[in-house]
Amino acid sequence: MRLPLSWLLEYAAIDVAPDDAAGVADLSRRLTACGLEVESVEPVGHDISGVVVAEVLDVAELTGFSKPIRYCQVSIADGQQRHVICGARNFTAGDRVALALPGAVLPGGFEIGARKTYGRVSEGMICSARELAIGEDHAGIMVLPADAPLGADFVTYAGLRDVVFDINVTPDKGFALSVRGVARELAISYQVPFTDPADVGLPADVAATSPEVHPVSIEDTTACDRIVLREVRGIDPATPTPLAMKIRLARAGQRPVSLAVDVTNYLMLELGQPLHAFDRARLHGPIVVRRAQPGEKLETLDHVVRTLDPEDILITDESGPISLAGTMGGVATEVSDSSHDVVIEAAHFSARGIARMSRRHKLGSEASARFERGVDPQLPPRASARATTMLAALGGGTVVPGCSLAGEEIEPVRIAMAADYPDQVAGLVYGLETVQKRLREVGCAVAHMPGSAADRPDGAGAGNGAVAVGVEVAVPIPDAGPADRRTRPDHGRHDRPGLTLLVTAPSWRPDLTDPADLAEEVIRLEGYQDIPVRAVRAVGGRGLTRRQRLRRTLSRALAADGYVEVICSPFTSAGDFDRLQLPAGDQRRQAVRLANPLSDDEPLMRTTLLPGIFRTLARNLGRGFSDVSLYEFGMVFRPKSGAPPVAPILPVDRAPTEQEVARLGAALPDQPLHVAAVLTGNAEPAGYWGAGRPAGWQDAIEAARLVLRTSRLTFSVRADRHEPWHPGRCAAIVIGNEQGQEWLAGHAGELHPRVIAAFDLPARTSAMELDLSVITTAADAAGPVQPPALWSYPLAVQDVALVVPRAVPAADVERALAAGAAAAGDVRLESLSLFDVYTGGQVGEGFKSLAYTLRFRAPDRTLTAEEVRGARDAAVAEAARQTGAVQRGGSS
């Protein structure tokens, strides 16, 4: 909301001049401090000099140029005549104009000099509104009123020196979308008198109706609870809008249109009430406010023909819709340069109705912005009266007395509030006087609830039991006054019955509905700087949950292992699923679709972290890095099959029931937390120490193992086939528990060559993705760590080499060895490690040799060589039984 200082000062009696920088800064600070955030303070008109009021004495048309040019004789009061060249044609001899003399400076530091042009010397320039930064109108020069004093400094004459405040008005503060609202706030802040522009220049009986005025009725009072029409007849449509009004409109960001439209815009800015001017001659029969009927259409002022929705709120006449209520007028009844009789409409429309309509038609306007935020329902008769009076006075017409009116009386909102409620919210004692004063300043009527302070146990309120509404009673809470404020010693709820205030909110503050709103008024006007700081109280928290701690630990473990954490885009597309080679029925193709995605190319929410991290990998490769390993923690989104398609909107005047909460939950997708890692290039770079080691499937699987080990879970790694991994280089990571239950945690390995090509990644890029929700759930279920007994008898080491068919997974051999050793009495296989894998001539085609070191220990004795051999043989025998392993070359 852009508002010039001069306009605000017209209604708030503040003594600050536009060139008083300190005063302006203070005013700006006060606006922000009361909740009207000033986004910019723009001094205007201060950079103009040397422009004076001049009279055009004679106009000579020059010919022979590419466009018509005028050579004008002009004079200012000194009798001295000058000649200027002018390209505009919208003036005649005798008109008064703004003349920039040689040496003048125009906005932007643009200096005017005498110069030769079109074969003549031009001693200055006749200015247009745009050249003076008071409007966009560049079609012609500015013709001034005939009484503009010759030779006067134009800046002074037109009051151009001003300051424009751009205020960011929050959605709750509809009242601040007007000079009226902002000036009132300023008057409160400065504690100076405020003149309400809604009270200025009204007829004696603002509600008097007259059959002379165009008739109006409301068909649907949920759409509009009040509408007022007034008429002006016989205006001269060619009357120019007064210069001062044009300047203000321009500075508020409004383009001047015509007198009638400018007057309605001016009053909308001043009062906050949107107004509409109809050409009476183009109305057909009585005006009716109603909802649209199926199939109705309306061409709005922006020349768009709109198909109307049955919920749309319309101004209609017998010809059909003539205006989208409170949003935009229709072209058919628009005032034009031939409109002599004008009907002014002012109404109070449903805020929600206008909001929906404006959203539906993607049509926001100054009017709809105000209606959505709440307009004073008492304004329509007043604003319309001011409009007709102003229009008649300026345009030479006659006001038709009275109005035509439909609707109902709108009851003000009454709020009962404990008198010390603002104190309880702020943690500070304001006292009754301050609370009442502040509420009255914003326009509330404050009364005391009868009997509310009567039963105070300390007797301080005794005798007030029969207090009538509106009568002041003894102050029931200590009022320390602004100079001596104290934090309440007790912040708790006040169980004692205290004084209750009955507060009637002013019509211009539809945002005041609750005690909390009233408390905020008191607190913000007194100033947030007064609120004390109370030291933090210790509360009994239990710290992070096990899952939360584990997540942090896993993140650190991956980073410590060389992976760099990234945060990737969560948006995806069916194209990504194709690039991942996901089969048609893959669950990951079932994705949450967005109604208004950021990009139409990515309308889905990710079901896997992989495409995002692949793209981030590619970006890093594109920036010149070749050895890159990345990881990401993030949610993926998996719609539940059979879930209700729509989440209900529950009531808010009570807590939802368990069933209602469950219904909301059922409609939401599953959102498990995943971790993914990807790596390419060298896992160990080459260097002076020797050759590097390229990153591969082992590293990706090891990253997955690291996550599972760090989570202290029992798990197995199994060969699997799962897109987007290489079918021969893909491992499934499976969590198991002692009861034999298993959960798939995810997959790891080298990516499928086609996936690598589709995402433009280097060959052999490897990746893993695990479901952390599964992992943390399993980890959560595990009890506390039970460390092993630390037996101290000597370790016995045995190496075995086993020959198995190549297809037998090493993990199976290892499992069998461990199982066999475990069955061999009270000898513990303390560790088992694979130290060699051999394929070649000595083991035969289709076989491989796996060499293991087995370390045995007993709890209570040194193992004999016989016992160790026995345990080893039991392990090997089990491996032979389970996997067909044959021990190679006997024992070591």
């Binding site: 030291a535 980073a559 945060i567 885009s569 950021l598 890093n620 209900p648």
Partner: protein, 375 residues
């Protein structure tokens, strides 16, 4: 103990003469001194202190002396042998030290040679994660617990329960990304959460009172990506609901938080703002942690971090709107609450002088690596 019972032999006894013993000692000392290394010293030890060494043999002959001469000869032989032993010990120590010096010099390496063989040196966590954890930990240390919620959220949690009335322009403040409905144009009642505040509702509906929670998480808005806006970003928000909480408690929590995160003694400032779920609402600015406000004073050095404003806008806050308590089944006559939230990316940018939010989401490894494991 008895001495060997030998008859006096004047020839053998000649070796025990004072002159002869002196010569033997001098020979021994000279040989020890001449040993250039430990091997030569070993040879010298055998020759002059070994079983066949002259002094050893001389010692054996003492028993052959007449009893009157034994004490005197014993004393002289003992002194000579002690001098040789001492010289051996000393020379041994000197030669060992010299050997050690030589070996350690020979084995010296260039310790500045790079050893970037294991990639693990380059791993790092994202600062949004680590700063987010730090932010959360400040609250956890005050006794708050971390609460989390889904990113695809029901509209009721994201808006209605937070006192965003249907069709109110307040909803338009947050450019919302909606989940598509069953048919085009139909609503789904689901959104990508626009803030972490719906977690407040979930916490109030499920946790016992009093309630102190902090909720970090990812949020979404259909903002255009530029240097300060990202459609995907992270917020962290604290919520306290208890008996008798006031704005003074809110300010206390804010100050404790700002001091823990940005530095001791930094002042904070509240200014009125509007959030539907708090009333009153305020935005929080803190004194610039770099210039501490000096840049805004006349003649102050310009400050890049606060653009010489002296203050940095940090967070939004307010007292929980009683309507929100009602929607969560909490008695607003008994309980009050406050909430306080800020952007994690914004915190990273402010705290670490990052000028462009895009650096936090491009995934360039250089960015995370600059932060390492902790921020």
């Amino acid at each position: 103990m008895s001495a060997p019972n030998k008859a006096y032999d004047p020839v053998e006894a000649a070796t025990l003469s004072a002159g002869e013993l002196q010569r033997m000692q001098a020979d021994a000392l000279a040989a020890i001194a001449a040993a250039a290394n430990l091997d030569e010293l070993k040879t010298a030890r055998l020759a002059h202190a070994g079983d066949r060494a002259p002094l050893t043999l001389a010692n054996a002959e003492i028993g052959a002396l007449p009893p009157a001469a034994r004490a005197d000869a014993g004393k002289r032989v003992g002194a000579a042998r002690a001098a040789v032993r001492a010289a051996l010990v000393q020379r041994q120590a000197d030669l060992e030290a010299e050997r050690d010096r030589r070996v350690l010099v020979d084995e010296a390496v260039d310790v500045t040679l790079p050893w970037d063989r294991p990639m693990s040196l380059d791993g790092a966590r994202h600062p949004v994660t680590t700063v987010g954890e730090r932010l959360a930990d400040v609250f956890v240390s005050m006794g708050y617990e971390i609460a989390e919620g889904p990113e695809v959220e029901a509209e009721w949690y994201n808006f209605d329960a937070l006192n965003f009335p249907p069709d109110h322009p307040a909803r338009e403040m947050q450019d919302t990304i909606f989940v598509a409905g069953p048919e085009p144009g139909e609503r789904s009642g689901k959104v990508l959460r626009t803030h972490t505040s719906p977690v407040q509702i979930r916490a109030m509906l499920t946790r016992p009172l009093p309630l102190y929670v902090v909720s970090p998480g990812k949020c979404y808005r259909s903002d255009a990506l530029d240097a300060t806006h990202s459609p995907v970003f992270h917020q962290i928000e604290c919520l306290a609901v208890d008996e008798g909480l006031t704005m003074a408690d809110l300010r206390g929590a804010i100050n404790a938080f700002v001091e823990a995160m940005f530095g001791e003694g930094l002042q904070t400032r509240l200014r009125p703002d509007f959030f539907p779920f708090t009333e009153p609402s305020a935005d929080v600015s803190m004194q610039c942690h770099v210039c501490r406000g000096a840049s805004a004073k006349p003649g102050g050095e310009p400050c890049r971090v606060c653009r010489s404003q002296g203050w940095i806008e940090l967070a939004g806050c307010g007292m929980v709107n009683p309507r929100v308590l009602v929607a969560c089944g909490i008695d607003p006559d008994r309980y009050s609450g406050f909430a306080f939230g800020l952007g994690i990316e914004r915190s990273v940018m402010v705290r670490h002088g990052v000028a462009d939010i895009r650096d936090t989401l491009e995934g360039d490894v250089r960015f995370s690596r600059a932060f390492g494991m902790e921020a």
